[in-house]
């Protein structure tokens, strides 16, 4: 398994990081012993805060930068990457 803990991810689902997608991301982030930070257009928010993630207002086609730290940082990063690449299960 890769040990990456940060990188860029493309938002590919039609609705972008809308309420339900943001809920899923936050749920995944919360299930790891890791700090999760999501950045978009120069603004970084707590990946465990649904309001923070919503405030990024990421539409389809935008890119987010995800950064994880802590004991399960790599696992958290991988799980979030899978979720985003899967279009939050909406594709």
């Amino acid at each position: 398994m890769s040990n990456e803990t940060e990188g860029d991810l493309d938002i590919i689902n039609d609705l972008g990081l809308h309420a339900r997608a943001a809920s899923k991301l936050v749920k995944v982030a919360n299930s790891y012993d890791a700090g999760v930070f999501v950045a978009h257009e120069g603004r970084e928010v707590n990946g465990k805060s649904i309001l923070g993630v919503l405030m990024l207002a990421c539409a389809k086609g935008s890119t987010i930068h995800v950064r994880c730290d802590g004991p399960q940082g790599a696992e958290a990063y991988k799980a979030i990457g899978d979720l985003v690449r899967d279009g939050f299960g909406e594709m």
């Binding site: 609705l15 972008g16 809308h18 309420a19 809920s23 707590n46 649904i50 919503l54 405030m55």
Partner: protein, 606 residues
């Protein structure tokens, strides 16, 4: 025309008269029950250092209670999509940034919980409102709604307790779907709303409950207090607050006369809409929500002439599935059987926003923009899912599919290609569906009206949508205050188009119906039937009045009036003619039947 008191100004006794949009016909009088969903007072109080722990505990307790309220509402909701919205709201309530931030503000700035919460959510709302994407801008209202709920809980109140006493008139800024669902179980007699239009959720619910409603009166919820007497004249769209005692008696008489008239025409609900000479006119209902079907049947509709499917696409994050379309249509067909139901495919546009479609730019002219069928052809998957669901449901009853906003034959062909593709998909998947579902077209653009003879050979039926046909023919946006007065259905150009479409239908044996608001207006019944229209589709409660007119008329007199109106030199003369004939023959119907206020006012002036 109406004998309603003509006092328009506040006489100093607190009387207030306002005009809005009549959204559900009738006259109601009762004490106001004000539902305040908008402005919640936020106390600005500082907290003593020794009380800070207690204040934080108070905030946490309110969060827990709000969480429980949401859980309870969620458990009452059957609909999948609404539950998802509530789940997201519950997650927001647990948001560590929000709760942590508020607690920090309480401790550091020594602000009371309400103030600290309002500061935090205002910031979030402001950020979201700056987003480029419309979806995120609209989310800001979710946050406000949630914050209001917590604020009320902090005050010890439960926001969803809408319990108006029997006989009350509900006054509100606007009501959420949850609020209106609660209202349906009460015995309110009328509704007045600051927001909303004819097709808003609350307006539709009011119609399904058959209570008079006037919407679109700015700030009405701020000027009325609980217990104030409110008169709702939802025939003319007038609301009188705190009337003088003398006029109250007059209004009570108007209301009683209206109710007696309604009862009288309603008694004919089981009789056919057949003129004295035997000409039968089919009267059907326009329906937008399942909740309106009961009202349609009660009023004697011979089926649904226009089922608007747009509501299925609103207030949700993912498009309705084929299965949802199928289930809804099947249920509607079962209830309306043995009569047919005409489902119009989704008529959405940037003026009827849905989160499902990202309108990348604000359209300058939504009426002429990417909307309706044009949008359906672009959002092909959504369109195909709907058609597949409808084709499947057609196994259960007489279902018809109607295409909106067709401009000509080639566009019609594209729409038919989509139907053929949906059918192939069902065949490939070996899913049961009906083979011979009638497909028809709306005629609502001058282009389509002028070439109705070319469209007719391709379709099973045509339906004239007068709202758009008038708007496009006269280039009038009737919601635009500056030009709304030019919206005149009896304009000779409009009448000629209606006449020629009806003639094409007769020649080619293609049924022609008319489903705009004109159909529901008793002033126009003779003219429309006289021009050759044999099927009218309207909001359910208008059916008894229109039926009564038809049953007391002869086709000859209707045709004679249509002929005279067509010969009128201009629209002024056409209106004068129609008004004088109809108001002499049917004074009660014109007084009580719903209709646009413009003609009433013009009639009063002349």
């Amino acid at each position: 025309m109406s004998k309603s008191p003509d006092e328009r100004r506040d006489d100093g006794s607190g009387r207030d008269q306002r005009t809005g949009i009549a959204a559900s016909p009738g006259v109601a009088i009762g004490p106001a029950y004000v539902v305040d969903r908008r402005r919640i007072h936020v106390p600005h109080r500082t907290v003593d250092k020794t009380e800070l722990d207690a204040e934080v505990r108070r905030f946490r307790k309110a969060l827990r209670e709000t969480q429980a309220q949401l859980e309870q509402i969620k458990s009452r909701l059957p609909h999948g999509e609404h539950r998802q919205i509530l789940k997201a709201q519950q997650l927001m309530l647990r948001d560590p940034d929000l709760t942590g931030g508020v607690e920090q503000t309480i401790r550091e700035a020594q602000l009371c919980a309400e103030w600290a919460l309002a500061k935090a959510t205002d910031e979030i709302v402001a950020t979201l409102q700056r987003a480029d994407d419309q979806y995120f801008r609209e989310r800001s209202s979710d946050i406000t709604f949630l914050a209001d709920r917590v604020l009320l809980t902090l005050r010890g109140e439960h926001p969803e307790q809408i319990r108006p006493p029997a006989g009350a008139v509900v006054v509100a800024h606007d009501l959420s779907p949850a609020d209106t669902a609660e209202l349906a179980r009460t015995e309110v007699v009328g509704m007045v709303m600051a927001g909303g239009g004819q097709t808003s959720h609350s307006a539709i619910i009011a119609r399904s409950m058959e209570i008079p409603a006037v919407v679109g009166i700015d700030d009405i919820d701020a000027t009325v207090q609980d217990g104030d007497t409110v008169i709702v004249d939802a025939i003319h769209g007038v609301v009188v607050v705190r009337p003088r005692p003398a006029e109250l008696a007059q209004w009570e008489e108007i209301r009683d006369r209206y109710e007696q008239f309604e009862d009288r025409v309603q008694r004919e609900h089981g009789l056919p809409a057949t003129a004295r000479d035997g000409t039968h006119i089919t009267l059907r209902a326009n329906v937008a929500l399942e909740a309106e079907i009961g009202s349609a049947l009660f009023h004697g509709a011979e089926g649904v002439g226009l089922y608007r499917t747009e509501f299925m696409f609103m207030e949700r994050d993912v498009p309705p599935t084929e299965e949802e379309h199928y289930r809804l249509a099947k249920m509607v067909l079962r209830r309306v059987a043995p009569y047919p139901v005409v489902f119009r495919t989704f008529d959405l546009g940037s003026d009827k926003p849905t989160k499902l479609i990202n309108f990348n730019e604000r359209e300058r002219n939504p009426a002429m923009g990417l909307r309706s069928l044009r949008l359906a052809l672009r959002e092909r998957e959504m369109f195909l899912a709907q058609i597949r669901g409808l084709l499947r449901a057609a196994v259960h009853g007489p279902l018809r599919i109607m295409m909106p906003l067709i401009s000509g034959v080639s566009e019609l062909r594209e729409a038919f290609d989509a139907v053929a593709e949906a059918r192939r998909q069902l065949e490939d998947a070996r899913i049961a569906h009906a083979q011979d579902v009638p497909v028809g077209t709306m005629i609502e653009m001058p282009s389509a009206a002028l070439i109705a003879d070319r469209l007719a050979p391709h379709v099973d039926f045509m339906s004239i949508g007068t709202n758009d046909l008038i708007q496009y023919t006269l280039a009038i946006d009737r919601d635009n205050d500056h030009v709304g007065y030019l919206y005149r259905p009896l304009h000779p150009a409009v009448l000629r188009l209606v006449q020629s479409i009806a003639a094409v239908g007769k020649e080619q044996g293609v049924p022609v119906s008319l489903c705009g608001e004109m159909a529901a207006d008793p002033r126009f019944t003779w003219v429309l039937v006289g021009l050759g229209v044999r099927e009218l589709s309207m909001h359910p409660s208008a059916i008894p009045v229109i039926k009564n007119i038809i049953r007391s008329s002869d086709i000859q007199e209707m045709e004679a009036l249509a002929e005279r109106v067509l010969a009128a030199p201009d629209v002024d003369e056409a209106e004068r003619l129609v008004l004088s004939v109809m108001s002499e023959r049917f004074p009660e119907h014109l007084e009580h039947g719903g209709g646009q206020p413009w003609l009433v006012e013009r009639g009063q002036r002349s």
